[in-house]
Symmetry: D2
Subunit: 416 residues, 4 copies
């Protein structure tokens, strides 16, 4: 077979999520999204120059219009930029050529005073922010659902299992409260870090000479840029100070771990011989190619996938951070990009799947009771498990009846 890619005149990579089920849909971090963020970043810089009085406003509008044109059906441009990125080692150079070609009369103001790392770091921050917002909202849904489960099953005696063995009775609600604890902590961390993600600046070597040449106060330009993009402006360049991305990685990884914990419990709960839990049904979901009548707990399976992969992705970002050197790094920076994006994607997808899982989780309370009785026939009492549930619910602010609203108001729960 031929590759059949002659349409765009290029033979670039084409990954569409085939090996990452669950990512399809409106992916906020894919290459097309990154390309658009790159364009947005460059446009905002021209607008910042306009704000600073360096460039007439209409010039910025024309650059924005050119960028909009490039971004409208961005697939082919993304492929071309990707193919041409090898020469310089990053995608900003060919993108810039395309943008200048689309607004040739304003070529000089586009990217004036910036370096490619300013633009790519800032664009990645924009997509990370989108990813964080998406994951935060879905973690909010997951929290609300876990809280509803914890309240509903606050007093339902259940077999407590430790080190894979029957231990003592607890309540099903206490297990759900554990899920809530982790999800809530992750959501808060993600929201906090997401809210202060900074833009990147510094110019050729963090010395801001390009911006300084344009204006007496280069920070004025940087501040205007931040205002355009709605991003925090950090005290100094972070070309070699990778805290913003390691911090973001830590938040995404924490979310993935919290969801992995839920999945581990659900997988155990759905096993033959247990049967306490069932994943929400949906047409076609959980189908098997070999056993048509089987229903696989596919949401949990995909969450476990993420729990396995995410720590390694976060560690990649950490490895890169520790090798930052000079004024801009010679490879460590380049190692960050795809790991960071993949990690964000894992978190976004996992949060959505996790919300769906918890919102529709089915509990077989008969099986819960039977399993407890079989394992601990003389069990009596559940200790302080209900009080633990109450404390966790109060601490997360999800103890009220209103947070148990029907599914139609889920988005608000998520924002609560």
């Amino acid at each position: 077979m031929t590759r059949g890619r002659t349409r765009e005149g290029t033979a670039s990579v084409r990954d569409v999520g085939l090996l990452f089920p669950g990512a399809s849909g409106d992916d906020p971090v894919d290459d097309v999204a990154v390309l658009r963020a790159l364009l947005r970043t460059e446009v905002a810089w021209v607008r910042a120059q306009a704000t600073a009085g360096l460039v007439p406003g209409p010039v910025a509008d024309e650059v924005a219009a050119a960028a909009d044109g490039l971004g409208t059906d961005a697939g082919p441009l993304t492929e071309r930029v990707a193919a041409e990125a090898a020469a310089g080692g990053n995608p900003v150079i060919p993108l810039l050529a395309a943008l200048r070609a689309a607004a040739p009369e304003h070529a000089a103001v586009v990217h004036a005073g910036l370096t490619s790392q300013d633009v790519l770091d800032t664009a990645l921050v924009l997509v990370l922010r989108d990813a964080a917002a998406s994951a935060t909202a879905d973690l909010g849904r997951a929290c609300a659902a876990a809280a509803r489960l914890a309240r509903a099953h606050r007093d339902v005696p259940a077999l407590g299992r430790t080190l894979a063995q029957a231990a003592v009775p607890t309540t099903l609600g206490a297990r759900c409260a554990g899920w809530l604890s982790g999800l809530h902590a992750a959501r808060t961390f993600l929201a906090d870090v997401g809210a202060v993600l900074p833009l990147a600046y510094g110019g050729a070597a963090g010395e801001l000479s390009g911006a300084a040449r344009l204006t007496g106060d280069p920070f004025a330009l940087v501040d205007a840029w931040g205002a355009e993009l709605g991003l925090a402006v950090p005290p100094g360049p972070w070309h070699t100070v990778r805290t913003p991305v390691t911090r973001a990685s830590a938040t995404f990884a924490e979310a993935c771990a919290a969801l992995g914990h839920v999945a581990a419990d659900v997988l155990q709960g759905t096993r033959p011989g247990v049967g306490e839990l069932r994943e929400p049904a949906a047409p076609g979901r959980g189908a098997s190619s070999a056993m048509p009548h089987k229903r696989n707990p596919v949401l949990s399976v995909l969450l476990r996938r993420t729990a396995i992969a995410a720590p390694h992705l976060a560690a990649t970002v950490g490895s890169a951070a520790g090798h930052a050197v000079d004024e801009r790094p010679d490879g460590a920076w380049h190692a960050e990009w795809s790991a960071l994006r993949e990690l964000a994607r894992h978190a976004v997808v996992a949060a959505r799947l996790g919300a769906e899982l918890l919102e529709g989780l089915e509990v077989d309370t008969d099986a819960v009771a039977a399993n407890l009785h079989t394992a601990l026939p003389d069990a009596d009492g559940v200790g302080a498990a209900p009080a633990v549930v109450d404390r966790v619910l109060r601490a997360t602010g999800l103890d009220g009846a209103d947070t148990g609203a029907p599914s139609g108001t889920r988005a608000q729960d998520g924002d609560a």
Copy 2:
């Protein structure tokens, strides 16, 4: 901006290598390649049934023709399969539906007796084999080039540096022989493992009941499948015995490390104040968005990127392997796919870039001499460095004049 993806009626992920410069070109492991390998795997299974006399030969031809049709312009199908993969958690189920729809009269024989893991594992092995072949060939080129450099500079005194400081004299050839040692070991390992990559079989739960229903000796079918695909047939199923993929990961990772070592030396050699080495020039290569006259050592930068990322990808595969459970795993398997593919991609791209780097590496022998003299003005002799070079060349079989052939015979060098 809208996403502009209405053409295919789906809104899937679109990654084209924007964040992985160097991967553009004919990527042997991208989603389209995987989809084609999936089709090839299913077709080969029908052909194996024909070989075993279970199915008339023309049926296999018709299924093959249907698969060929699907694979010809495979982009849209890959996107659709990716989008639909979420429901069952893997892409085989929707692909199978597409293949059966394309050959409806033979729906029953397609995939008969297989499970999705048989097909996806085998398809991934096929693309890994292609990746290994590509990387092996390019590592062969890199070895030949390193050997030429080692021979050419066998006796050229150079400053030996240890723990980042001036140490004692060695020869430039000895450093190149070090590169050769690592590249040759990696190439051999990769070739050895690549040659025995096995297909995967087992059916629903590794018990081969589907194949057993079809024929008295289910292994006959499996052996015929192996012959069709040119893949080794392992003694038993490896649904939960992930040695084939952890072993492959180890080889790819070793290649990436060997190339990272070369890059680290080249980056040091090109630094201001050193200037002993220069990367090969090419139009547009090493350009900077902020400093037009700068020439960045972009090949080495991209190799260092890979040296940072690859160990984490290999570790992801290892983490997944250690969590294999039951007859087929509940998430650990799913975590392998994209890590394994990314790792193979890293190795393929790095081997190609590394070959290009070493084939065109420019040495400034004046700078080499000056640096030695400046650091160690009283240096006298180079120890046994030339003898070390000879020993390494002999051990790798690259000591002959013929291996120093001009670039026109590089491919043969690579195969030597």
Copy 3:
């Protein structure tokens, strides 16, 4: 040779830092420290029972005295407990036996209502807190030293290097300000997280039944325990909600990365052909076994070691977190312990070495000037580098003259 370990009648592991140079000294996280923290945790629980009126005060004093006796020359006990830990899979069980044997009349109140995970998690939190305090203080010293360097060299033109090549001029102070940015962020994160490290509770299965049996309000006991230990009391158990340890890991890893960045720059600065920086001299430091006159940048070498290892250790903790299951995990918990401790140790040692490095870093401003002139003979100006320095100093609160105090007041700087 025989192992020569007959003294204690056991043949346990004996690691003393041979393969981790720099860790010697008063290690806050070694096994003896952990054993003492375990004792302290158990004693505090008895004191909490006394506070709650369940146990007479003198009983707690007697248990404390027994624990003090065990902890005084704790080496042999630690070895014995380690050897016996295999049977139950954790060290709490044999330690408890030892403590109960040392205070047999109070055996019933020791550990009453706790599970081993409560104790080990809490003890590890205690040593993590000590480690965080040590690293925070040393990062404070490092910040102060980096700030002094940034101020001292605020306007010294220096060669800016990007992607390993000469780029444009910056100032040496701007590079130091970059170090400061990373160190300060890491120090703040570490201090913030260290301040809220929580104790762990929950009893057999997170249901607090043991504590509930002792008192009507089990949280009263837990709160008293927190007051004894000076640790935060979390809303619920975190047996399977590993946020506290993943969060702590993220902070330690961030510190290691920030120090790795400094080391990478210092290593480049000390290289032959550069010679801009020299590590502080000390008797015997940087010696070589083969080249007596050589002085290796051993502090930076050890920091780079840590930058390489730390992300993997943090990822191990992350992997464990994502596999938490049931009421207490079946192996994921056990995988945390040594990774977490090693990571904390890396951070503690690196912070101390980093402080020493920066406090004594020698700058050769002639070499700085010469390198700039050689690489960029026509260089003119340093852009806004000095203004960048000022901004970073202000943002970190280290812009005042008092923070440039002589070394005698370093500790206070660190605490500022």
Copy 4:
């Protein structure tokens, strides 16, 4: 409490396995073992000089006697060397001082022509070889036990589970054959790599000038050294070509993954609601601090611990390898040591625990039958599962009755 370490006059780290249950016993890779290997390495080098006629035989004997004296009660010396290792960044320098002080008249021949990396790399190879031998033998025991289980339960129908759900019937023996497949592959890989672990040489900068000064053919000395140590002599130095250690890491990691797979199945098999398997009983094993009557599957728990940690340790070695630079690396080498040792320790302990687990694994065939019947009441037949068992047994050479020998001959099984 005071640290109570005044006995040796130093306050070094003291780790004795408290956080790594199972490692107690005769640990082949702890610091004392490494110190002894360092001594052995230095002695062998003097013997090699004697073989080459450079030094009288009795001199070598006297150095050996001095080393033996140092190694006899090596604990205090190990602590002192560890404490002094910080100054030079590695333990060889202070060890060398101790050895020369113990044989002052032969100080000149000790270490003559070596560099510290030659000695430390070679010493680590010696302990890795011991570790590999230990793990290989125990994996042999584990293979034999898995084979016995596979044969014994070849035809026992059992519930096949996939994606955590009931799938189709297989046999219990087929599951055990899967364990055998992974264990056998790992054992073979480990044995193969262990057999060719090479010594390290090169001198100050891989140029062998020290050895060349001693003799006309420096390789004669190196070859004699290899003969003394029973280690392979590689073609060239591997100071910066880390294939030997990355390869060894891959083998240890593969062993840990294979054992993790077994543990995952055993943990599922012992769960409440399943009850098909029980770990071997031993006095005190599986005890709980909170629930006296509970029996935890502690062997499997510790194996799962290792399956989680090992990939990260192997990746650390891989990260270090890819950053090798110059003639000897500036931190990447140092990052290897403890990761490599920990990984080897994980493999050694896991292999021993795994052998014990499989040799004593108890199967409840009634529960196996009941679980199958409950989940798949209409199940009929087990496909070709018995034939799969036979194939795996034949491929591993463990199909004969003699491999099912009683436990008294286990060691021979392991060596088979």
